[in-house]
Amino acid sequence: MSVETLLFDPKVVTEFSRKQQEPEWMLQFRLQALQDAAKLPLPKVEKTNINRWNFTNFIPYTEEAPVEGLSQLPEEIRELIFDGEEANVLVQKNSSVIFRQAAEQLAEKGVIFTDLATAAREHEELVKKYFMTEAVKKDEHKLTALHAALFSGGVFLYVPRNVELEMPLQSLFWLSGAETGMLPHILIVAETSSRVDFVANYVAERDSQAAVSNSVIEVFVGQNAQVRVATINNLSQSAVDVTYRRSIVHKDGRLEWIVADLSDGRVISDNTTHLQGEGGNVNVKTVAVGTGEMRANITSSIHHWGRHTASDINARSVMTDEASSILNSITKIEKGASKSDGQQSGKVLMLNPKARGDANPILLIDENDVSAGHAASVGRIDPLQLYYLMSRGIPRKQAEKLIIFGFLDAVISEIPSDTLQKRIHRVIERKFQS
C-alpha cells in the first residue's frame, strides 16, 4: 500500500516509536495497524450513525513539557485528582505523560504503575503478553487499528498475586489545544487474589476544538481477583470521544465498571466483559449526562462463558437541550455457561422536548439452565415527584436537580472517592447551568 492512501504518515509513527525506545515488535505492530486502519471499516454501533464523525483528522503527537508537581497543574485539572500529595497518579497531556507520582510501597509490593512505553522497555514480556492480544485486537475495525498505530502515553498497571491495594490508583488524561489527538492505552493486569481500584479521568480544556480522543482500556482480572475501574470522560462540545473498555475475568474474579460519560461532543463508549472462568462476576454501572448537541452511543456487553457467572448492568442517562443518547445493553449467555445469571436495567431521563434517548436491552441466551432479566424505561421527570418535592417548599429548579442527581446516584455513589464524587456533582451542575 502506498503512503498516500494511509491516514497518517508512517514516518511520524516510526519516529515517535523510536524516540520512546519501543521494542521493534511494537513498532512493527504500529505500522501494520496503520495499514489496517486505512482498509478497515468503522465499527458498527447500534442505532447511531457515526459515518460523518471526525475520527481521523487530528495531530497525533504533540510534545508537552513535564510538570514538577501537581501544584503546577491548572485548577480545573488538579481538582479531579484526589488524595492530594498521597495520590498515586499519572497525568498525561495530549500525547505526553507529564507527571507521575507513586508511593514507594507500591514498588516494594511488586506493583508496576507506569506509562506504557516505559513498561514496554522495562517489562517487555508482560506487555507483549497482554497488549492488544486477547482483549482488544488491533484489526477489529478502523478505530482499534488507529489506536494501535498511534497510541501514546497510557498506563501499565500490574498487581502481583495476593497484593491488595487500599488506595485507588489514578490517571488523568488532559486534552488541550485545537485539533489535537489523545490516544492513551491503559493496560491493567490483576493477578490471582489481588485487589485494585483504578480511576481514569479524561478532561478537555475549553480551547480543545475539534479534538479526538481514542482510548482503549484492557483489564485482566485474575482468579479470585477484585478490580474496580471508574472512568469519567468530560471532553468538550466539538471533540470526538471514543473509549473501548474490554475485560477478561477469570475464575471467581470480580470486576466493576463505573463509567461516567459527561462529554458534550460525539461519544462512543463501549465496555465489554468476557466472564471466562467459572464463578466470575461483573457489575457495570454507566451514566451519561448530555447537554447541547451531544450524541452518545453507550454500549455495555457481557459474554458469559463460564458456569455460575453473574452480571449486572445498570445504565442511566440524562439528556437535556438537543442531546441524544443510545444505551445498548447486551447480555450474551453462551452455550455451556449454565447456572449463570445476567441482569440489566437501562433508564433514560429526558429534560427537554428536543432531547432524545433510547434504552436498548438485548438478551441473547444459548444455554437453558440460566436466569436473566431486563428492565428499560425512557421518560421525563415525573410531574408527581416534582409536585411532591415542591410541596415542601423546594423551588422547581432545585427539585429537578434533586430528582436528576437521585437518578444518577445509583452510579455516582459507586465512584471510589467521596472527593471525586463531589467534583463530578459539580461538573454536572455546571453543565446544567450553562
Binding site: Y387, S391, R392, G393, I394, P395, D409
Partner: protein, 262 residues
Amino acid sequence: MSTSPKLTIKDLRVSIDDREILKGVNLEVKGGEVHAIMGPNGTGKSTLASALMGHPRYEVTGGEVTLDGQDVLEMEVDERARAGLFLAMQYPSEVSGVTNSDFLRSAINAKRGEGNEISLMKFIRQLDEKMALLEMDEKFAHRYLNEGFSGGEKKRNEILQMMMLQPRIAILDEIDSGLDIDALKVVAKGVNSMLSPELGVLIITHYQRLLNYIKPDFVHVFMQGRIVKSGGPELAERLEAEGYDWVKEELGIEDETVGLKA
C-alpha cells in the same frame, strides 16, 4: 410571622379534565383550630386538599383562596409551602436516590432562605427528636425518600415532614387510611404535639376513628363537591353512629358523589 394564621376558601371551583369536581367550597381555618372534613368516597374531599396545594392535575376554575391575606392560587406549589401551607399526602411519591434527610434539609433551607441555612447539628438534633416521638427507626433518615416504605411508614414520614417544616396551616389527607390502631395513635401523637395557636389543621377523613385521637373543633360534611353541613365534634359522633343517610335525607340529596372517585 407571629400573627395567627388564617386560610380562607371562598366559592372554590375545581375541575379535572374539564369535569367540575369542587362546586363552590367555602371554609375558613384559623390558627388554633382543628377542622375535620368528613364524607363518603367520591365526594371530592381529596380534590380539595390537592387543589389547595396546587396539584398539577387540577384546574381551579373559580373562587379564591387566601393564606394570611395572600392569594394562594397565584402562587407556585413551592411558594405555597414556603408561605406556610402543608399537605400530608394520601399517596406520597417515592424518589429514588434522594435520602429522607437530604430532602428534609433542602426543604427546611428553602424556607429559611440563602445565608440562613440550618446548621447540620441543629438539624440532626431536631430530626432525631421528632423521629423518636414518631417511633421511627433512625435508619429512615438515610433511606431514599419513601422508596420501599410500607403504607404506615409513608404516613409517619409525612407527619415527620410536617413536624420538621412547622407549617402555619396543615392539611392531612386521609392520613389515617391503612393504619392500624397503634400507628394511628403515633400519628395522632405527632399531630397533637404541634397543636398551638400558630397552627390551623384541616383533617380529611372518612373514618371517625381518627377524631378520637385528634379532637376537632369543627366538623364539616362533604358531598357533591362542597360542604353541605357543618357542626361541632358531636356531628362526627352522629355520623359514626348513623352513617350519612340522614344527612342526605335532610338535605334532599340522592347521589352524594361527584361522579368520580376522589
